[in-house]
Protein backbone atom coordinates (compact mmCIF):
# COMPACT_ATOMS: atom_id res chain seq x y z
CA UNK A 1 0.00 0.00 0.00
CA UNK A 2 1.48 3.32 -1.06
CA UNK A 3 0.63 6.78 0.18
CA UNK A 4 -3.17 7.04 -0.27
CA UNK A 5 -3.54 10.38 -2.07
CA UNK A 6 -6.76 11.26 -3.88
CA UNK A 7 -7.80 13.94 -6.34
CA UNK A 8 -10.25 16.37 -4.77
CA UNK A 9 -13.26 14.96 -6.64
CA UNK A 10 -12.46 11.35 -5.69
CA UNK A 11 -11.51 12.01 -2.07
CA UNK A 12 -13.45 9.75 0.33
CA UNK A 13 -13.42 12.42 3.05
CA UNK A 14 -13.20 11.57 6.74
CA UNK A 15 -15.12 8.27 6.44
CA UNK A 16 -12.85 5.27 7.00
CA UNK A 17 -15.49 2.88 5.62
CA UNK A 18 -15.59 4.69 2.28
CA UNK A 19 -11.82 4.94 2.16
CA UNK A 20 -11.46 1.23 2.94
CA UNK A 21 -13.86 0.35 0.12
CA UNK A 22 -12.04 2.60 -2.36
CA UNK A 23 -8.66 1.22 -1.35
CA UNK A 24 -9.82 -2.41 -1.42
CA UNK A 25 -9.14 -3.09 2.27
CA UNK A 26 -12.54 -4.67 2.91
CA UNK A 27 -13.19 -8.39 2.70
CA UNK A 28 -15.32 -8.97 -0.40
CA UNK A 29 -18.80 -10.12 0.54
CA UNK A 30 -19.88 -13.37 -1.07
CA UNK A 31 -23.14 -15.23 -0.88
CA UNK A 32 -21.40 -18.44 0.21
CA UNK A 33 -22.95 -19.69 3.39
CA UNK A 34 -20.42 -21.02 5.83
CA UNK A 35 -21.13 -22.55 9.20
CA UNK A 36 -19.80 -20.02 11.63
CA UNK A 37 -20.41 -19.41 15.31
CA UNK A 38 -23.16 -17.03 16.26
CA UNK A 39 -23.02 -14.49 19.02
CA UNK A 40 -26.30 -14.03 20.96
CA UNK A 41 -28.28 -11.89 23.52
CA UNK A 42 -27.52 -8.28 24.46
CA UNK A 43 -29.83 -5.72 26.04
CA UNK A 44 -29.59 -1.98 26.64
CA UNK A 45 -31.68 -0.11 29.21
CA UNK A 46 -31.90 3.65 29.39
CA UNK A 47 -32.04 5.04 32.91
CA UNK A 48 -32.09 8.55 34.34
CA UNK A 49 -28.31 9.14 34.07
CA UNK A 50 -27.20 7.02 31.14
CA UNK A 51 -27.49 3.56 29.64
CA UNK A 52 -26.87 0.09 31.08
CA UNK A 53 -25.90 -2.76 28.75
CA UNK A 54 -25.75 -6.44 29.58
CA UNK A 55 -24.64 -9.18 27.20
CA UNK A 56 -24.13 -12.92 27.42
CA UNK A 57 -20.74 -14.47 26.60
CA UNK A 58 -21.55 -17.54 24.53
CA UNK A 59 -20.86 -18.15 20.84
CA UNK A 60 -22.83 -21.03 19.41
CA UNK A 61 -22.33 -23.07 16.23
CA UNK A 62 -23.59 -26.62 16.16
CA UNK A 63 -21.97 -26.83 19.56
CA UNK A 64 -20.87 -24.14 22.00
CA UNK A 65 -17.95 -22.54 20.19
CA UNK A 66 -16.78 -20.21 22.92
CA UNK A 67 -17.87 -19.32 26.44
CA UNK A 68 -16.16 -16.00 26.98
CA UNK A 69 -16.88 -13.82 23.95
CA UNK A 70 -17.06 -10.07 24.54
CA UNK A 71 -20.12 -8.87 22.65
CA UNK A 72 -20.09 -5.33 24.03
CA UNK A 73 -17.15 -3.07 23.33
CA UNK A 74 -16.42 0.61 23.77
CA UNK A 75 -16.48 2.16 20.31
CA UNK A 76 -15.00 5.28 21.85
CA UNK A 77 -15.07 6.93 25.26
CA UNK A 78 -18.82 7.71 25.22
CA UNK A 79 -20.18 5.02 22.92
CA UNK A 80 -20.72 1.30 23.33
CA UNK A 81 -21.44 -1.08 20.52
CA UNK A 82 -22.87 -4.58 20.86
CA UNK A 83 -23.25 -7.32 18.26
CA UNK A 84 -25.38 -10.35 17.58
CA UNK A 85 -25.42 -12.66 14.58
CA UNK A 86 -22.33 -14.05 12.87
CA UNK A 87 -19.38 -13.67 15.23
CA UNK A 88 -16.78 -13.17 12.48
CA UNK A 89 -18.76 -10.38 10.85
CA UNK A 90 -19.67 -8.86 14.18
CA UNK A 91 -16.08 -8.57 15.31
CA UNK A 92 -15.12 -6.98 11.99
CA UNK A 93 -18.06 -4.64 12.41
CA UNK A 94 -16.95 -3.51 15.87
CA UNK A 95 -13.42 -2.94 14.56
CA UNK A 96 -14.79 -0.90 11.67
CA UNK A 97 -16.93 1.23 13.99
CA UNK A 98 -14.12 1.89 16.46
CA UNK A 99 -11.68 2.77 13.72
CA UNK A 100 -14.20 4.93 11.84
CA UNK A 101 -15.05 7.13 14.82
CA UNK A 102 -11.37 7.64 15.63
CA UNK A 103 -10.52 8.21 11.95
CA UNK A 104 -13.17 10.91 11.65
CA UNK A 105 -11.86 12.59 14.78
CA UNK A 106 -8.28 12.62 13.53
CA UNK A 107 -9.19 13.78 10.03
CA UNK A 108 -11.44 16.64 11.10
CA UNK A 109 -10.17 17.40 14.63
CA UNK A 110 -13.74 17.08 15.94
CA UNK A 111 -15.78 14.15 17.23
CA UNK A 112 -18.87 12.82 15.45
CA UNK A 113 -22.19 13.42 17.23
CA UNK A 114 -23.85 10.34 18.74
CA UNK A 115 -26.61 10.52 16.13
CA UNK A 116 -23.92 10.87 13.44
CA UNK A 117 -22.28 7.69 14.69
CA UNK A 118 -25.62 5.84 14.71
CA UNK A 119 -26.45 6.89 11.14
CA UNK A 120 -22.93 6.15 9.93
CA UNK A 121 -23.38 2.46 10.76
CA UNK A 122 -26.53 2.05 8.62
CA UNK A 123 -24.87 1.60 5.21
CA UNK A 124 -22.26 -0.71 6.72
CA UNK A 125 -25.00 -3.01 8.05
CA UNK A 126 -26.86 -2.71 4.77
CA UNK A 127 -23.80 -3.64 2.74
CA UNK A 128 -23.28 -6.76 4.83
CA UNK A 129 -26.81 -7.98 5.45
CA UNK A 130 -28.32 -7.46 2.02
CA UNK A 131 -25.53 -9.29 0.22
CA UNK A 132 -24.61 -12.09 2.59
CA UNK A 133 -26.37 -14.70 4.72
CA UNK A 134 -23.81 -13.94 7.43
CA UNK A 135 -26.10 -11.46 9.13
CA UNK A 136 -24.87 -9.13 11.83
CA UNK A 137 -27.18 -7.04 14.00
CA UNK A 138 -25.64 -4.37 16.19
CA UNK A 139 -26.90 -2.18 18.99
CA UNK A 140 -25.44 1.24 19.70
CA UNK A 141 -25.73 3.06 23.00
CA UNK A 142 -23.95 6.09 24.27
CA UNK A 143 -23.84 9.25 26.27
CA UNK A 144 -24.77 12.22 24.09
CA UNK A 145 -22.58 15.08 25.30
CA UNK A 146 -24.47 17.73 23.32
CA UNK A 147 -27.86 16.80 24.85
CA UNK A 148 -26.59 15.40 28.17
CA UNK A 149 -28.61 12.16 27.97
CA UNK A 150 -27.99 8.49 27.38
CA UNK A 151 -29.38 7.27 24.04
CA UNK A 152 -29.99 3.86 22.44
CA UNK A 153 -30.13 3.10 18.70
CA UNK A 154 -31.26 -0.22 17.26
CA UNK A 155 -31.18 -1.43 13.65
CA UNK A 156 -33.27 -3.63 11.42
CA UNK A 157 -31.76 -6.22 9.10
CA UNK A 158 -31.61 -3.78 6.18
CA UNK A 159 -29.69 -1.16 8.10
CA UNK A 160 -32.60 1.03 9.21
CA UNK A 161 -31.66 2.95 12.35
CA UNK A 162 -34.22 3.63 15.09
CA UNK A 163 -33.80 5.39 18.38
CA UNK A 164 -35.31 3.66 21.43
CA UNK A 165 -36.26 5.71 24.44
CA UNK A 166 -36.70 2.83 26.91
CA UNK A 167 -34.76 -0.35 26.16
CA UNK A 168 -33.66 -2.55 23.26
CA UNK A 169 -32.58 -6.16 22.77
CA UNK A 170 -30.73 -8.02 20.04
CA UNK A 171 -30.03 -11.70 19.41
CA UNK A 172 -31.85 -15.02 19.57
CA UNK A 173 -32.79 -14.63 23.25
CA UNK A 174 -34.75 -11.46 22.44
CA UNK A 175 -38.28 -12.84 23.16
CA UNK A 176 -37.29 -13.81 26.72
CA UNK A 177 -35.08 -10.82 27.52
CA UNK A 178 -37.59 -8.43 26.01
CA UNK A 179 -40.48 -9.87 28.06
CA UNK A 180 -38.58 -9.36 31.29
CA UNK A 181 -37.72 -5.79 30.31
CA UNK A 182 -41.30 -4.98 29.29
CA UNK A 183 -42.63 -6.10 32.65
CA UNK A 184 -39.93 -4.56 34.78
CA UNK A 185 -39.15 -1.25 33.06
CA UNK A 186 -40.28 2.03 34.61
CA UNK A 187 -39.76 5.45 33.08
CA UNK A 188 -37.95 6.69 36.20
CA UNK A 189 -35.69 3.66 36.62
CA UNK A 190 -32.35 4.41 38.34
CA UNK A 191 -28.91 2.87 37.90
CA UNK A 192 -29.37 0.06 40.37
CA UNK A 193 -32.82 -0.76 39.04
CA UNK A 194 -31.51 -0.80 35.47
CA UNK A 195 -28.59 -3.06 36.40
CA UNK A 196 -30.85 -5.50 38.23
CA UNK A 197 -33.45 -5.55 35.48
CA UNK A 198 -30.79 -5.94 32.78
CA UNK A 199 -29.16 -8.85 34.60
CA UNK A 200 -32.55 -10.51 35.07
CA UNK A 201 -33.37 -10.14 31.36
CA UNK A 202 -30.14 -11.89 30.38
CA UNK A 203 -30.73 -14.54 33.07
CA UNK A 204 -34.15 -15.28 31.53
CA UNK A 205 -32.68 -15.43 28.01
CA UNK A 206 -29.91 -17.75 29.19
CA UNK A 207 -32.49 -19.94 30.90
CA UNK A 208 -34.73 -20.38 27.85
CA UNK A 209 -32.65 -19.85 24.73
CA UNK A 210 -30.10 -22.61 23.95
CA UNK A 211 -27.83 -20.14 22.11
CA UNK A 212 -27.57 -17.69 25.00
CA UNK A 213 -25.19 -18.41 27.83
CA UNK A 214 -26.38 -17.69 31.35
CA UNK A 215 -24.08 -17.19 34.34
CA UNK A 216 -21.50 -19.98 34.44
CA UNK A 217 -20.89 -20.63 38.14
CA UNK A 218 -18.60 -23.56 37.39
CA UNK A 219 -16.11 -21.61 35.27
CA UNK A 220 -16.83 -18.26 36.90
CA UNK A 221 -17.79 -16.66 33.60
CA UNK A 222 -20.59 -14.12 33.87
CA UNK A 223 -22.40 -11.89 31.38
CA UNK A 224 -20.78 -8.51 30.67
CA UNK A 225 -22.35 -5.51 32.37
CA UNK A 226 -21.43 -1.96 31.36
CA UNK A 227 -22.66 1.55 32.02
CA UNK A 228 -22.29 4.57 29.74
CA UNK A 229 -22.68 7.87 31.56
CA UNK A 230 -21.30 11.39 31.58
CA UNK A 231 -18.06 9.78 32.79
CA UNK A 232 -17.91 7.48 29.78
CA UNK A 233 -17.88 3.74 29.21
CA UNK A 234 -17.33 1.61 32.32
CA UNK A 235 -17.38 -2.14 32.70
CA UNK A 236 -18.57 -3.47 36.07
CA UNK A 237 -15.93 -5.57 37.74
CA UNK A 238 -16.31 -9.32 37.73
CA UNK A 239 -17.06 -9.66 41.47
CA UNK A 240 -19.92 -7.17 41.31
CA UNK A 241 -21.43 -8.95 38.29
CA UNK A 242 -20.99 -12.38 39.92
CA UNK A 243 -22.79 -11.19 43.08
CA UNK A 244 -25.73 -9.88 41.07
CA UNK A 245 -26.19 -13.13 39.17
CA UNK A 246 -25.69 -15.20 42.30
CA UNK A 247 -28.50 -13.26 44.01
CA UNK A 248 -30.90 -13.87 41.10
CA UNK A 249 -29.91 -17.53 41.00
CA UNK A 250 -30.39 -17.99 44.76
CA UNK A 251 -33.88 -16.47 44.65
CA UNK A 252 -34.77 -18.69 41.72
CA UNK A 253 -33.47 -21.75 43.53
CA UNK A 254 -35.56 -20.92 46.59
CA UNK A 255 -38.71 -20.51 44.52
CA UNK A 256 -38.14 -23.87 42.84
CA UNK A 257 -37.31 -22.38 39.43
CA UNK A 258 -40.33 -20.12 38.96
CA UNK A 259 -40.21 -16.35 38.88
CA UNK A 260 -43.31 -16.28 41.11
CA UNK A 261 -44.95 -13.22 39.66
CA UNK A 262 -42.57 -10.78 41.35
CA UNK A 263 -40.08 -10.43 38.54
CA UNK A 264 -37.60 -11.99 40.90
Amino acid sequence: MGLPLFDAHLDPGPSFFHYAETAGLMTPITAASAHSPHATTVIAVRYNAGVVMVGDRQATGNYIASRDVRKIEAADRFTAIAISGTAARGIEFIKMAQLSFEHYEKMTDSALSLEGKANYLSPIIQRNNLSSPLIVMPLLAGWDPSHQVGRIFEYDGAGGCYERFDFATIGSGTPFADSALRLGYRADIDLDGALELGALAIYEAGDNDPSTGGPDFVRNIYPMMVTITVEGFRELDADDVAARFRAINDRRTQSGGVAGGTLR
Binding site: G2, L3, P4, L5, D11, F16, K106, D109
Partner: protein, 225 residues
Amino acid sequence: MSNYFYVSPEQLIKDRAEFAQKGIARGRSMVGAIYDVGVLLIAENPSASLNKISEIYDRIAFAGAGRYNEFDRLREADIRWADGTGFTYSREDVDARALANYYAQHLGDMFTEGQKPLEVEILVAQLGSKIRPTKLYRVAYEGTISDEPFYSVLGGDAETIRARFAAHEERIHPLKQTLKNAVDALAGPDRTIPTADLEVGILEDRGTRRTFMRLSDDEVSELLS
Protein backbone atom coordinates in the same frame (compact mmCIF):
# COMPACT_ATOMS: atom_id res chain seq x y z
CA MET B 1 7.71 22.78 -34.95
CA SER B 2 8.48 24.76 -31.88
CA ASN B 3 11.93 25.30 -30.47
CA TYR B 4 12.91 23.97 -27.04
CA PHE B 5 15.58 25.77 -25.10
CA TYR B 6 18.11 23.54 -23.40
CA VAL B 7 18.09 23.81 -19.61
CA SER B 8 20.80 21.90 -17.78
CA PRO B 9 19.62 19.53 -15.03
CA GLU B 10 21.69 21.52 -12.52
CA GLN B 11 19.84 24.71 -13.42
CA LEU B 12 16.46 22.95 -13.34
CA ILE B 13 17.05 21.54 -9.86
CA LYS B 14 18.36 24.88 -8.64
CA ASP B 15 15.30 26.72 -9.94
CA ARG B 16 12.91 24.24 -8.43
CA ALA B 17 14.69 24.27 -5.08
CA GLU B 18 14.61 28.07 -5.02
CA PHE B 19 10.92 28.04 -5.83
CA ALA B 20 10.13 25.57 -3.04
CA GLN B 21 12.31 27.36 -0.49
CA LYS B 22 10.62 30.68 -1.25
CA GLY B 23 7.20 29.13 -0.77
CA ILE B 24 8.16 27.52 2.53
CA ALA B 25 9.79 30.73 3.78
CA ARG B 26 6.46 32.55 3.47
CA GLY B 27 4.97 30.37 6.23
CA ARG B 28 5.94 30.49 9.88
CA SER B 29 8.28 28.01 11.47
CA MET B 30 7.78 25.20 13.91
CA VAL B 31 9.79 23.04 16.26
CA GLY B 32 9.63 19.38 17.24
CA ALA B 33 11.61 18.31 20.31
CA ILE B 34 12.01 15.20 22.40
CA TYR B 35 11.59 15.71 26.17
CA ASP B 36 12.17 13.31 29.04
CA VAL B 37 8.88 11.42 28.75
CA GLY B 38 7.46 12.47 25.39
CA VAL B 39 7.64 14.47 22.21
CA LEU B 40 6.68 18.14 21.87
CA LEU B 41 5.44 19.73 18.65
CA ILE B 42 5.01 23.48 18.62
CA ALA B 43 4.10 25.83 15.79
CA GLU B 44 3.52 29.52 15.49
CA ASN B 45 -0.01 29.56 14.14
CA PRO B 46 -2.41 32.49 14.50
CA SER B 47 -5.33 30.33 13.33
CA ALA B 48 -7.04 28.19 15.97
CA SER B 49 -8.71 25.92 13.43
CA LEU B 50 -6.31 25.49 10.51
CA ASN B 51 -3.97 23.11 12.27
CA LYS B 52 -0.35 22.46 11.46
CA ILE B 53 -0.04 19.71 14.05
CA SER B 54 -2.15 16.58 14.04
CA GLU B 55 -2.59 13.17 15.59
CA ILE B 56 -1.84 10.38 13.14
CA TYR B 57 -1.91 7.20 15.18
CA ASP B 58 -1.59 5.86 18.72
CA ARG B 59 2.04 6.99 19.05
CA ILE B 60 2.58 9.06 15.91
CA ALA B 61 2.01 12.76 15.26
CA PHE B 62 2.44 15.00 12.24
CA ALA B 63 3.55 18.57 11.75
CA GLY B 64 3.73 20.51 8.51
CA ALA B 65 5.27 23.82 7.46
CA GLY B 66 4.76 25.70 4.20
CA ARG B 67 1.61 25.70 2.10
CA TYR B 68 -1.40 24.62 4.16
CA ASN B 69 -3.41 22.91 1.39
CA GLU B 70 -0.40 20.86 0.33
CA PHE B 71 0.67 19.57 3.74
CA ASP B 72 -2.90 19.03 4.90
CA ARG B 73 -3.47 16.68 1.98
CA LEU B 74 -0.35 14.79 3.01
CA ARG B 75 -1.61 14.71 6.61
CA GLU B 76 -4.88 13.11 5.48
CA ALA B 77 -3.02 10.54 3.40
CA ASP B 78 -0.91 9.81 6.46
CA ILE B 79 -3.93 9.11 8.70
CA ARG B 80 -5.48 6.93 6.01
CA TRP B 81 -2.30 4.97 5.56
CA ALA B 82 -1.88 4.45 9.31
CA ASP B 83 -5.52 3.46 9.96
CA GLY B 84 -5.57 1.24 6.87
CA THR B 85 -2.36 -0.54 7.87
CA GLY B 86 -3.56 -1.04 11.45
CA PHE B 87 -6.89 -2.38 10.12
CA THR B 88 -5.25 -4.82 7.70
CA TYR B 89 -2.45 -6.03 9.99
CA SER B 90 -2.21 -4.92 13.61
CA ARG B 91 -1.93 -1.64 15.48
CA GLU B 92 1.67 -2.36 16.42
CA ASP B 93 2.67 -2.70 12.76
CA VAL B 94 2.14 1.01 12.12
CA ASP B 95 5.62 2.53 12.01
CA ALA B 96 6.58 6.19 11.59
CA ARG B 97 9.65 5.28 9.56
CA ALA B 98 7.53 3.68 6.83
CA LEU B 99 5.38 6.83 6.75
CA ALA B 100 8.39 9.12 6.53
CA ASN B 101 9.70 7.02 3.63
CA TYR B 102 6.42 7.35 1.74
CA TYR B 103 6.56 11.11 2.22
CA ALA B 104 10.15 11.19 1.04
CA GLN B 105 9.24 9.25 -2.12
CA HIS B 106 6.22 11.41 -2.86
CA LEU B 107 7.99 14.73 -2.24
CA GLY B 108 10.99 13.49 -4.25
CA ASP B 109 8.74 12.51 -7.17
CA MET B 110 6.93 15.84 -7.10
CA PHE B 111 10.22 17.70 -6.96
CA THR B 112 11.65 16.08 -10.08
CA GLU B 113 8.57 15.16 -12.09
CA GLY B 114 5.68 17.26 -10.82
CA GLN B 115 4.29 20.40 -12.41
CA LYS B 116 5.85 22.21 -9.49
CA PRO B 117 7.58 20.98 -6.35
CA LEU B 118 5.50 20.91 -3.18
CA GLU B 119 6.26 23.90 -0.95
CA VAL B 120 6.21 21.94 2.29
CA GLU B 121 8.36 20.41 4.98
CA ILE B 122 7.01 17.57 7.08
CA LEU B 123 7.85 16.23 10.50
CA VAL B 124 6.76 12.75 11.56
CA ALA B 125 7.18 12.20 15.30
CA GLN B 126 7.00 8.86 17.04
CA LEU B 127 6.78 8.21 20.77
CA GLY B 128 8.91 5.20 21.65
CA SER B 129 7.56 1.92 23.02
CA LYS B 130 8.99 -1.49 23.88
CA ILE B 131 9.32 -2.27 20.19
CA ARG B 132 10.12 1.13 18.62
CA PRO B 133 12.36 4.09 19.45
CA THR B 134 11.28 7.71 19.97
CA LYS B 135 12.02 9.44 16.67
CA LEU B 136 11.73 12.70 14.79
CA TYR B 137 11.83 12.25 11.02
CA ARG B 138 12.07 15.45 9.02
CA VAL B 139 11.23 15.29 5.33
CA ALA B 140 12.27 18.25 3.18
CA TYR B 141 10.58 19.55 0.01
CA GLU B 142 12.89 17.60 -2.31
CA GLY B 143 12.43 14.32 -0.45
CA THR B 144 15.51 14.38 1.76
CA ILE B 145 14.73 12.52 4.95
CA SER B 146 16.66 13.13 8.14
CA ASP B 147 16.43 11.45 11.50
CA GLU B 148 17.04 14.11 14.14
CA PRO B 149 18.23 13.08 17.61
CA PHE B 150 16.88 15.81 19.94
CA TYR B 151 14.94 18.42 18.04
CA SER B 152 13.97 19.45 14.56
CA VAL B 153 13.08 22.81 13.04
CA LEU B 154 10.84 23.28 10.01
CA GLY B 155 9.91 26.29 7.92
CA GLY B 156 11.39 29.51 6.63
CA ASP B 157 13.60 30.62 9.45
CA ALA B 158 14.83 27.13 10.24
CA GLU B 159 18.57 27.89 10.29
CA THR B 160 18.29 30.84 12.69
CA ILE B 161 15.89 29.02 14.97
CA ARG B 162 18.02 25.91 14.95
CA ALA B 163 21.04 27.96 16.01
CA ARG B 164 19.06 29.53 18.88
CA PHE B 165 17.79 26.15 19.96
CA ALA B 166 21.30 24.67 19.81
CA ALA B 167 22.46 27.37 22.24
CA HIS B 168 20.70 25.38 24.95
CA GLU B 169 22.47 22.16 25.85
CA GLU B 170 21.79 19.33 23.48
CA ARG B 171 20.23 17.00 25.96
CA ILE B 172 16.80 15.87 27.04
CA HIS B 173 14.89 18.18 29.42
CA PRO B 174 11.47 17.94 31.07
CA LEU B 175 8.47 19.32 29.13
CA LYS B 176 8.45 22.71 30.89
CA GLN B 177 12.06 23.48 29.98
CA THR B 178 11.75 22.07 26.46
CA LEU B 179 8.66 24.18 25.77
CA LYS B 180 10.41 27.29 27.09
CA ASN B 181 13.47 26.67 24.91
CA ALA B 182 11.30 26.04 21.87
CA VAL B 183 9.25 29.21 22.35
CA ASP B 184 12.41 31.28 22.93
CA ALA B 185 13.96 29.84 19.79
CA LEU B 186 10.84 30.52 17.70
CA ALA B 187 10.46 34.08 19.00
CA GLY B 188 14.09 35.21 18.99
CA PRO B 189 15.50 37.90 21.25
CA ASP B 190 13.37 40.86 20.06
CA ARG B 191 9.90 39.39 20.05
CA THR B 192 7.41 37.59 22.27
CA ILE B 193 4.78 35.33 20.73
CA PRO B 194 1.34 35.57 22.38
CA THR B 195 0.19 32.20 23.74
CA ALA B 196 -2.91 32.37 21.55
CA ASP B 197 -0.62 32.25 18.50
CA LEU B 198 1.01 29.01 19.57
CA GLU B 199 -0.26 25.61 18.53
CA VAL B 200 1.11 22.94 20.83
CA GLY B 201 0.69 19.17 20.75
CA ILE B 202 2.45 16.43 22.70
CA LEU B 203 2.86 12.69 22.53
CA GLU B 204 3.03 11.29 26.04
CA ASP B 205 1.97 8.08 27.81
CA ARG B 206 -1.05 8.68 30.03
CA GLY B 207 -2.18 5.08 30.45
CA THR B 208 -4.38 5.18 27.36
CA ARG B 209 -3.80 3.74 23.89
CA ARG B 210 -3.80 7.14 22.19
CA THR B 211 -0.93 9.33 23.34
CA PHE B 212 -1.48 12.55 21.37
CA MET B 213 -2.87 15.56 23.20
CA ARG B 214 -3.31 19.21 22.29
CA LEU B 215 -2.35 21.69 24.98
CA SER B 216 -4.79 24.56 25.53
CA ASP B 217 -3.66 28.18 25.77
CA ASP B 218 -4.08 28.00 29.55
CA GLU B 219 -1.97 24.87 29.82
CA VAL B 220 0.74 26.45 27.67
CA SER B 221 0.71 29.68 29.71
CA GLU B 222 1.01 27.70 32.91
CA LEU B 223 3.96 25.70 31.58
CA LEU B 224 5.68 28.88 30.39
CA SER B 225 5.19 30.77 33.66
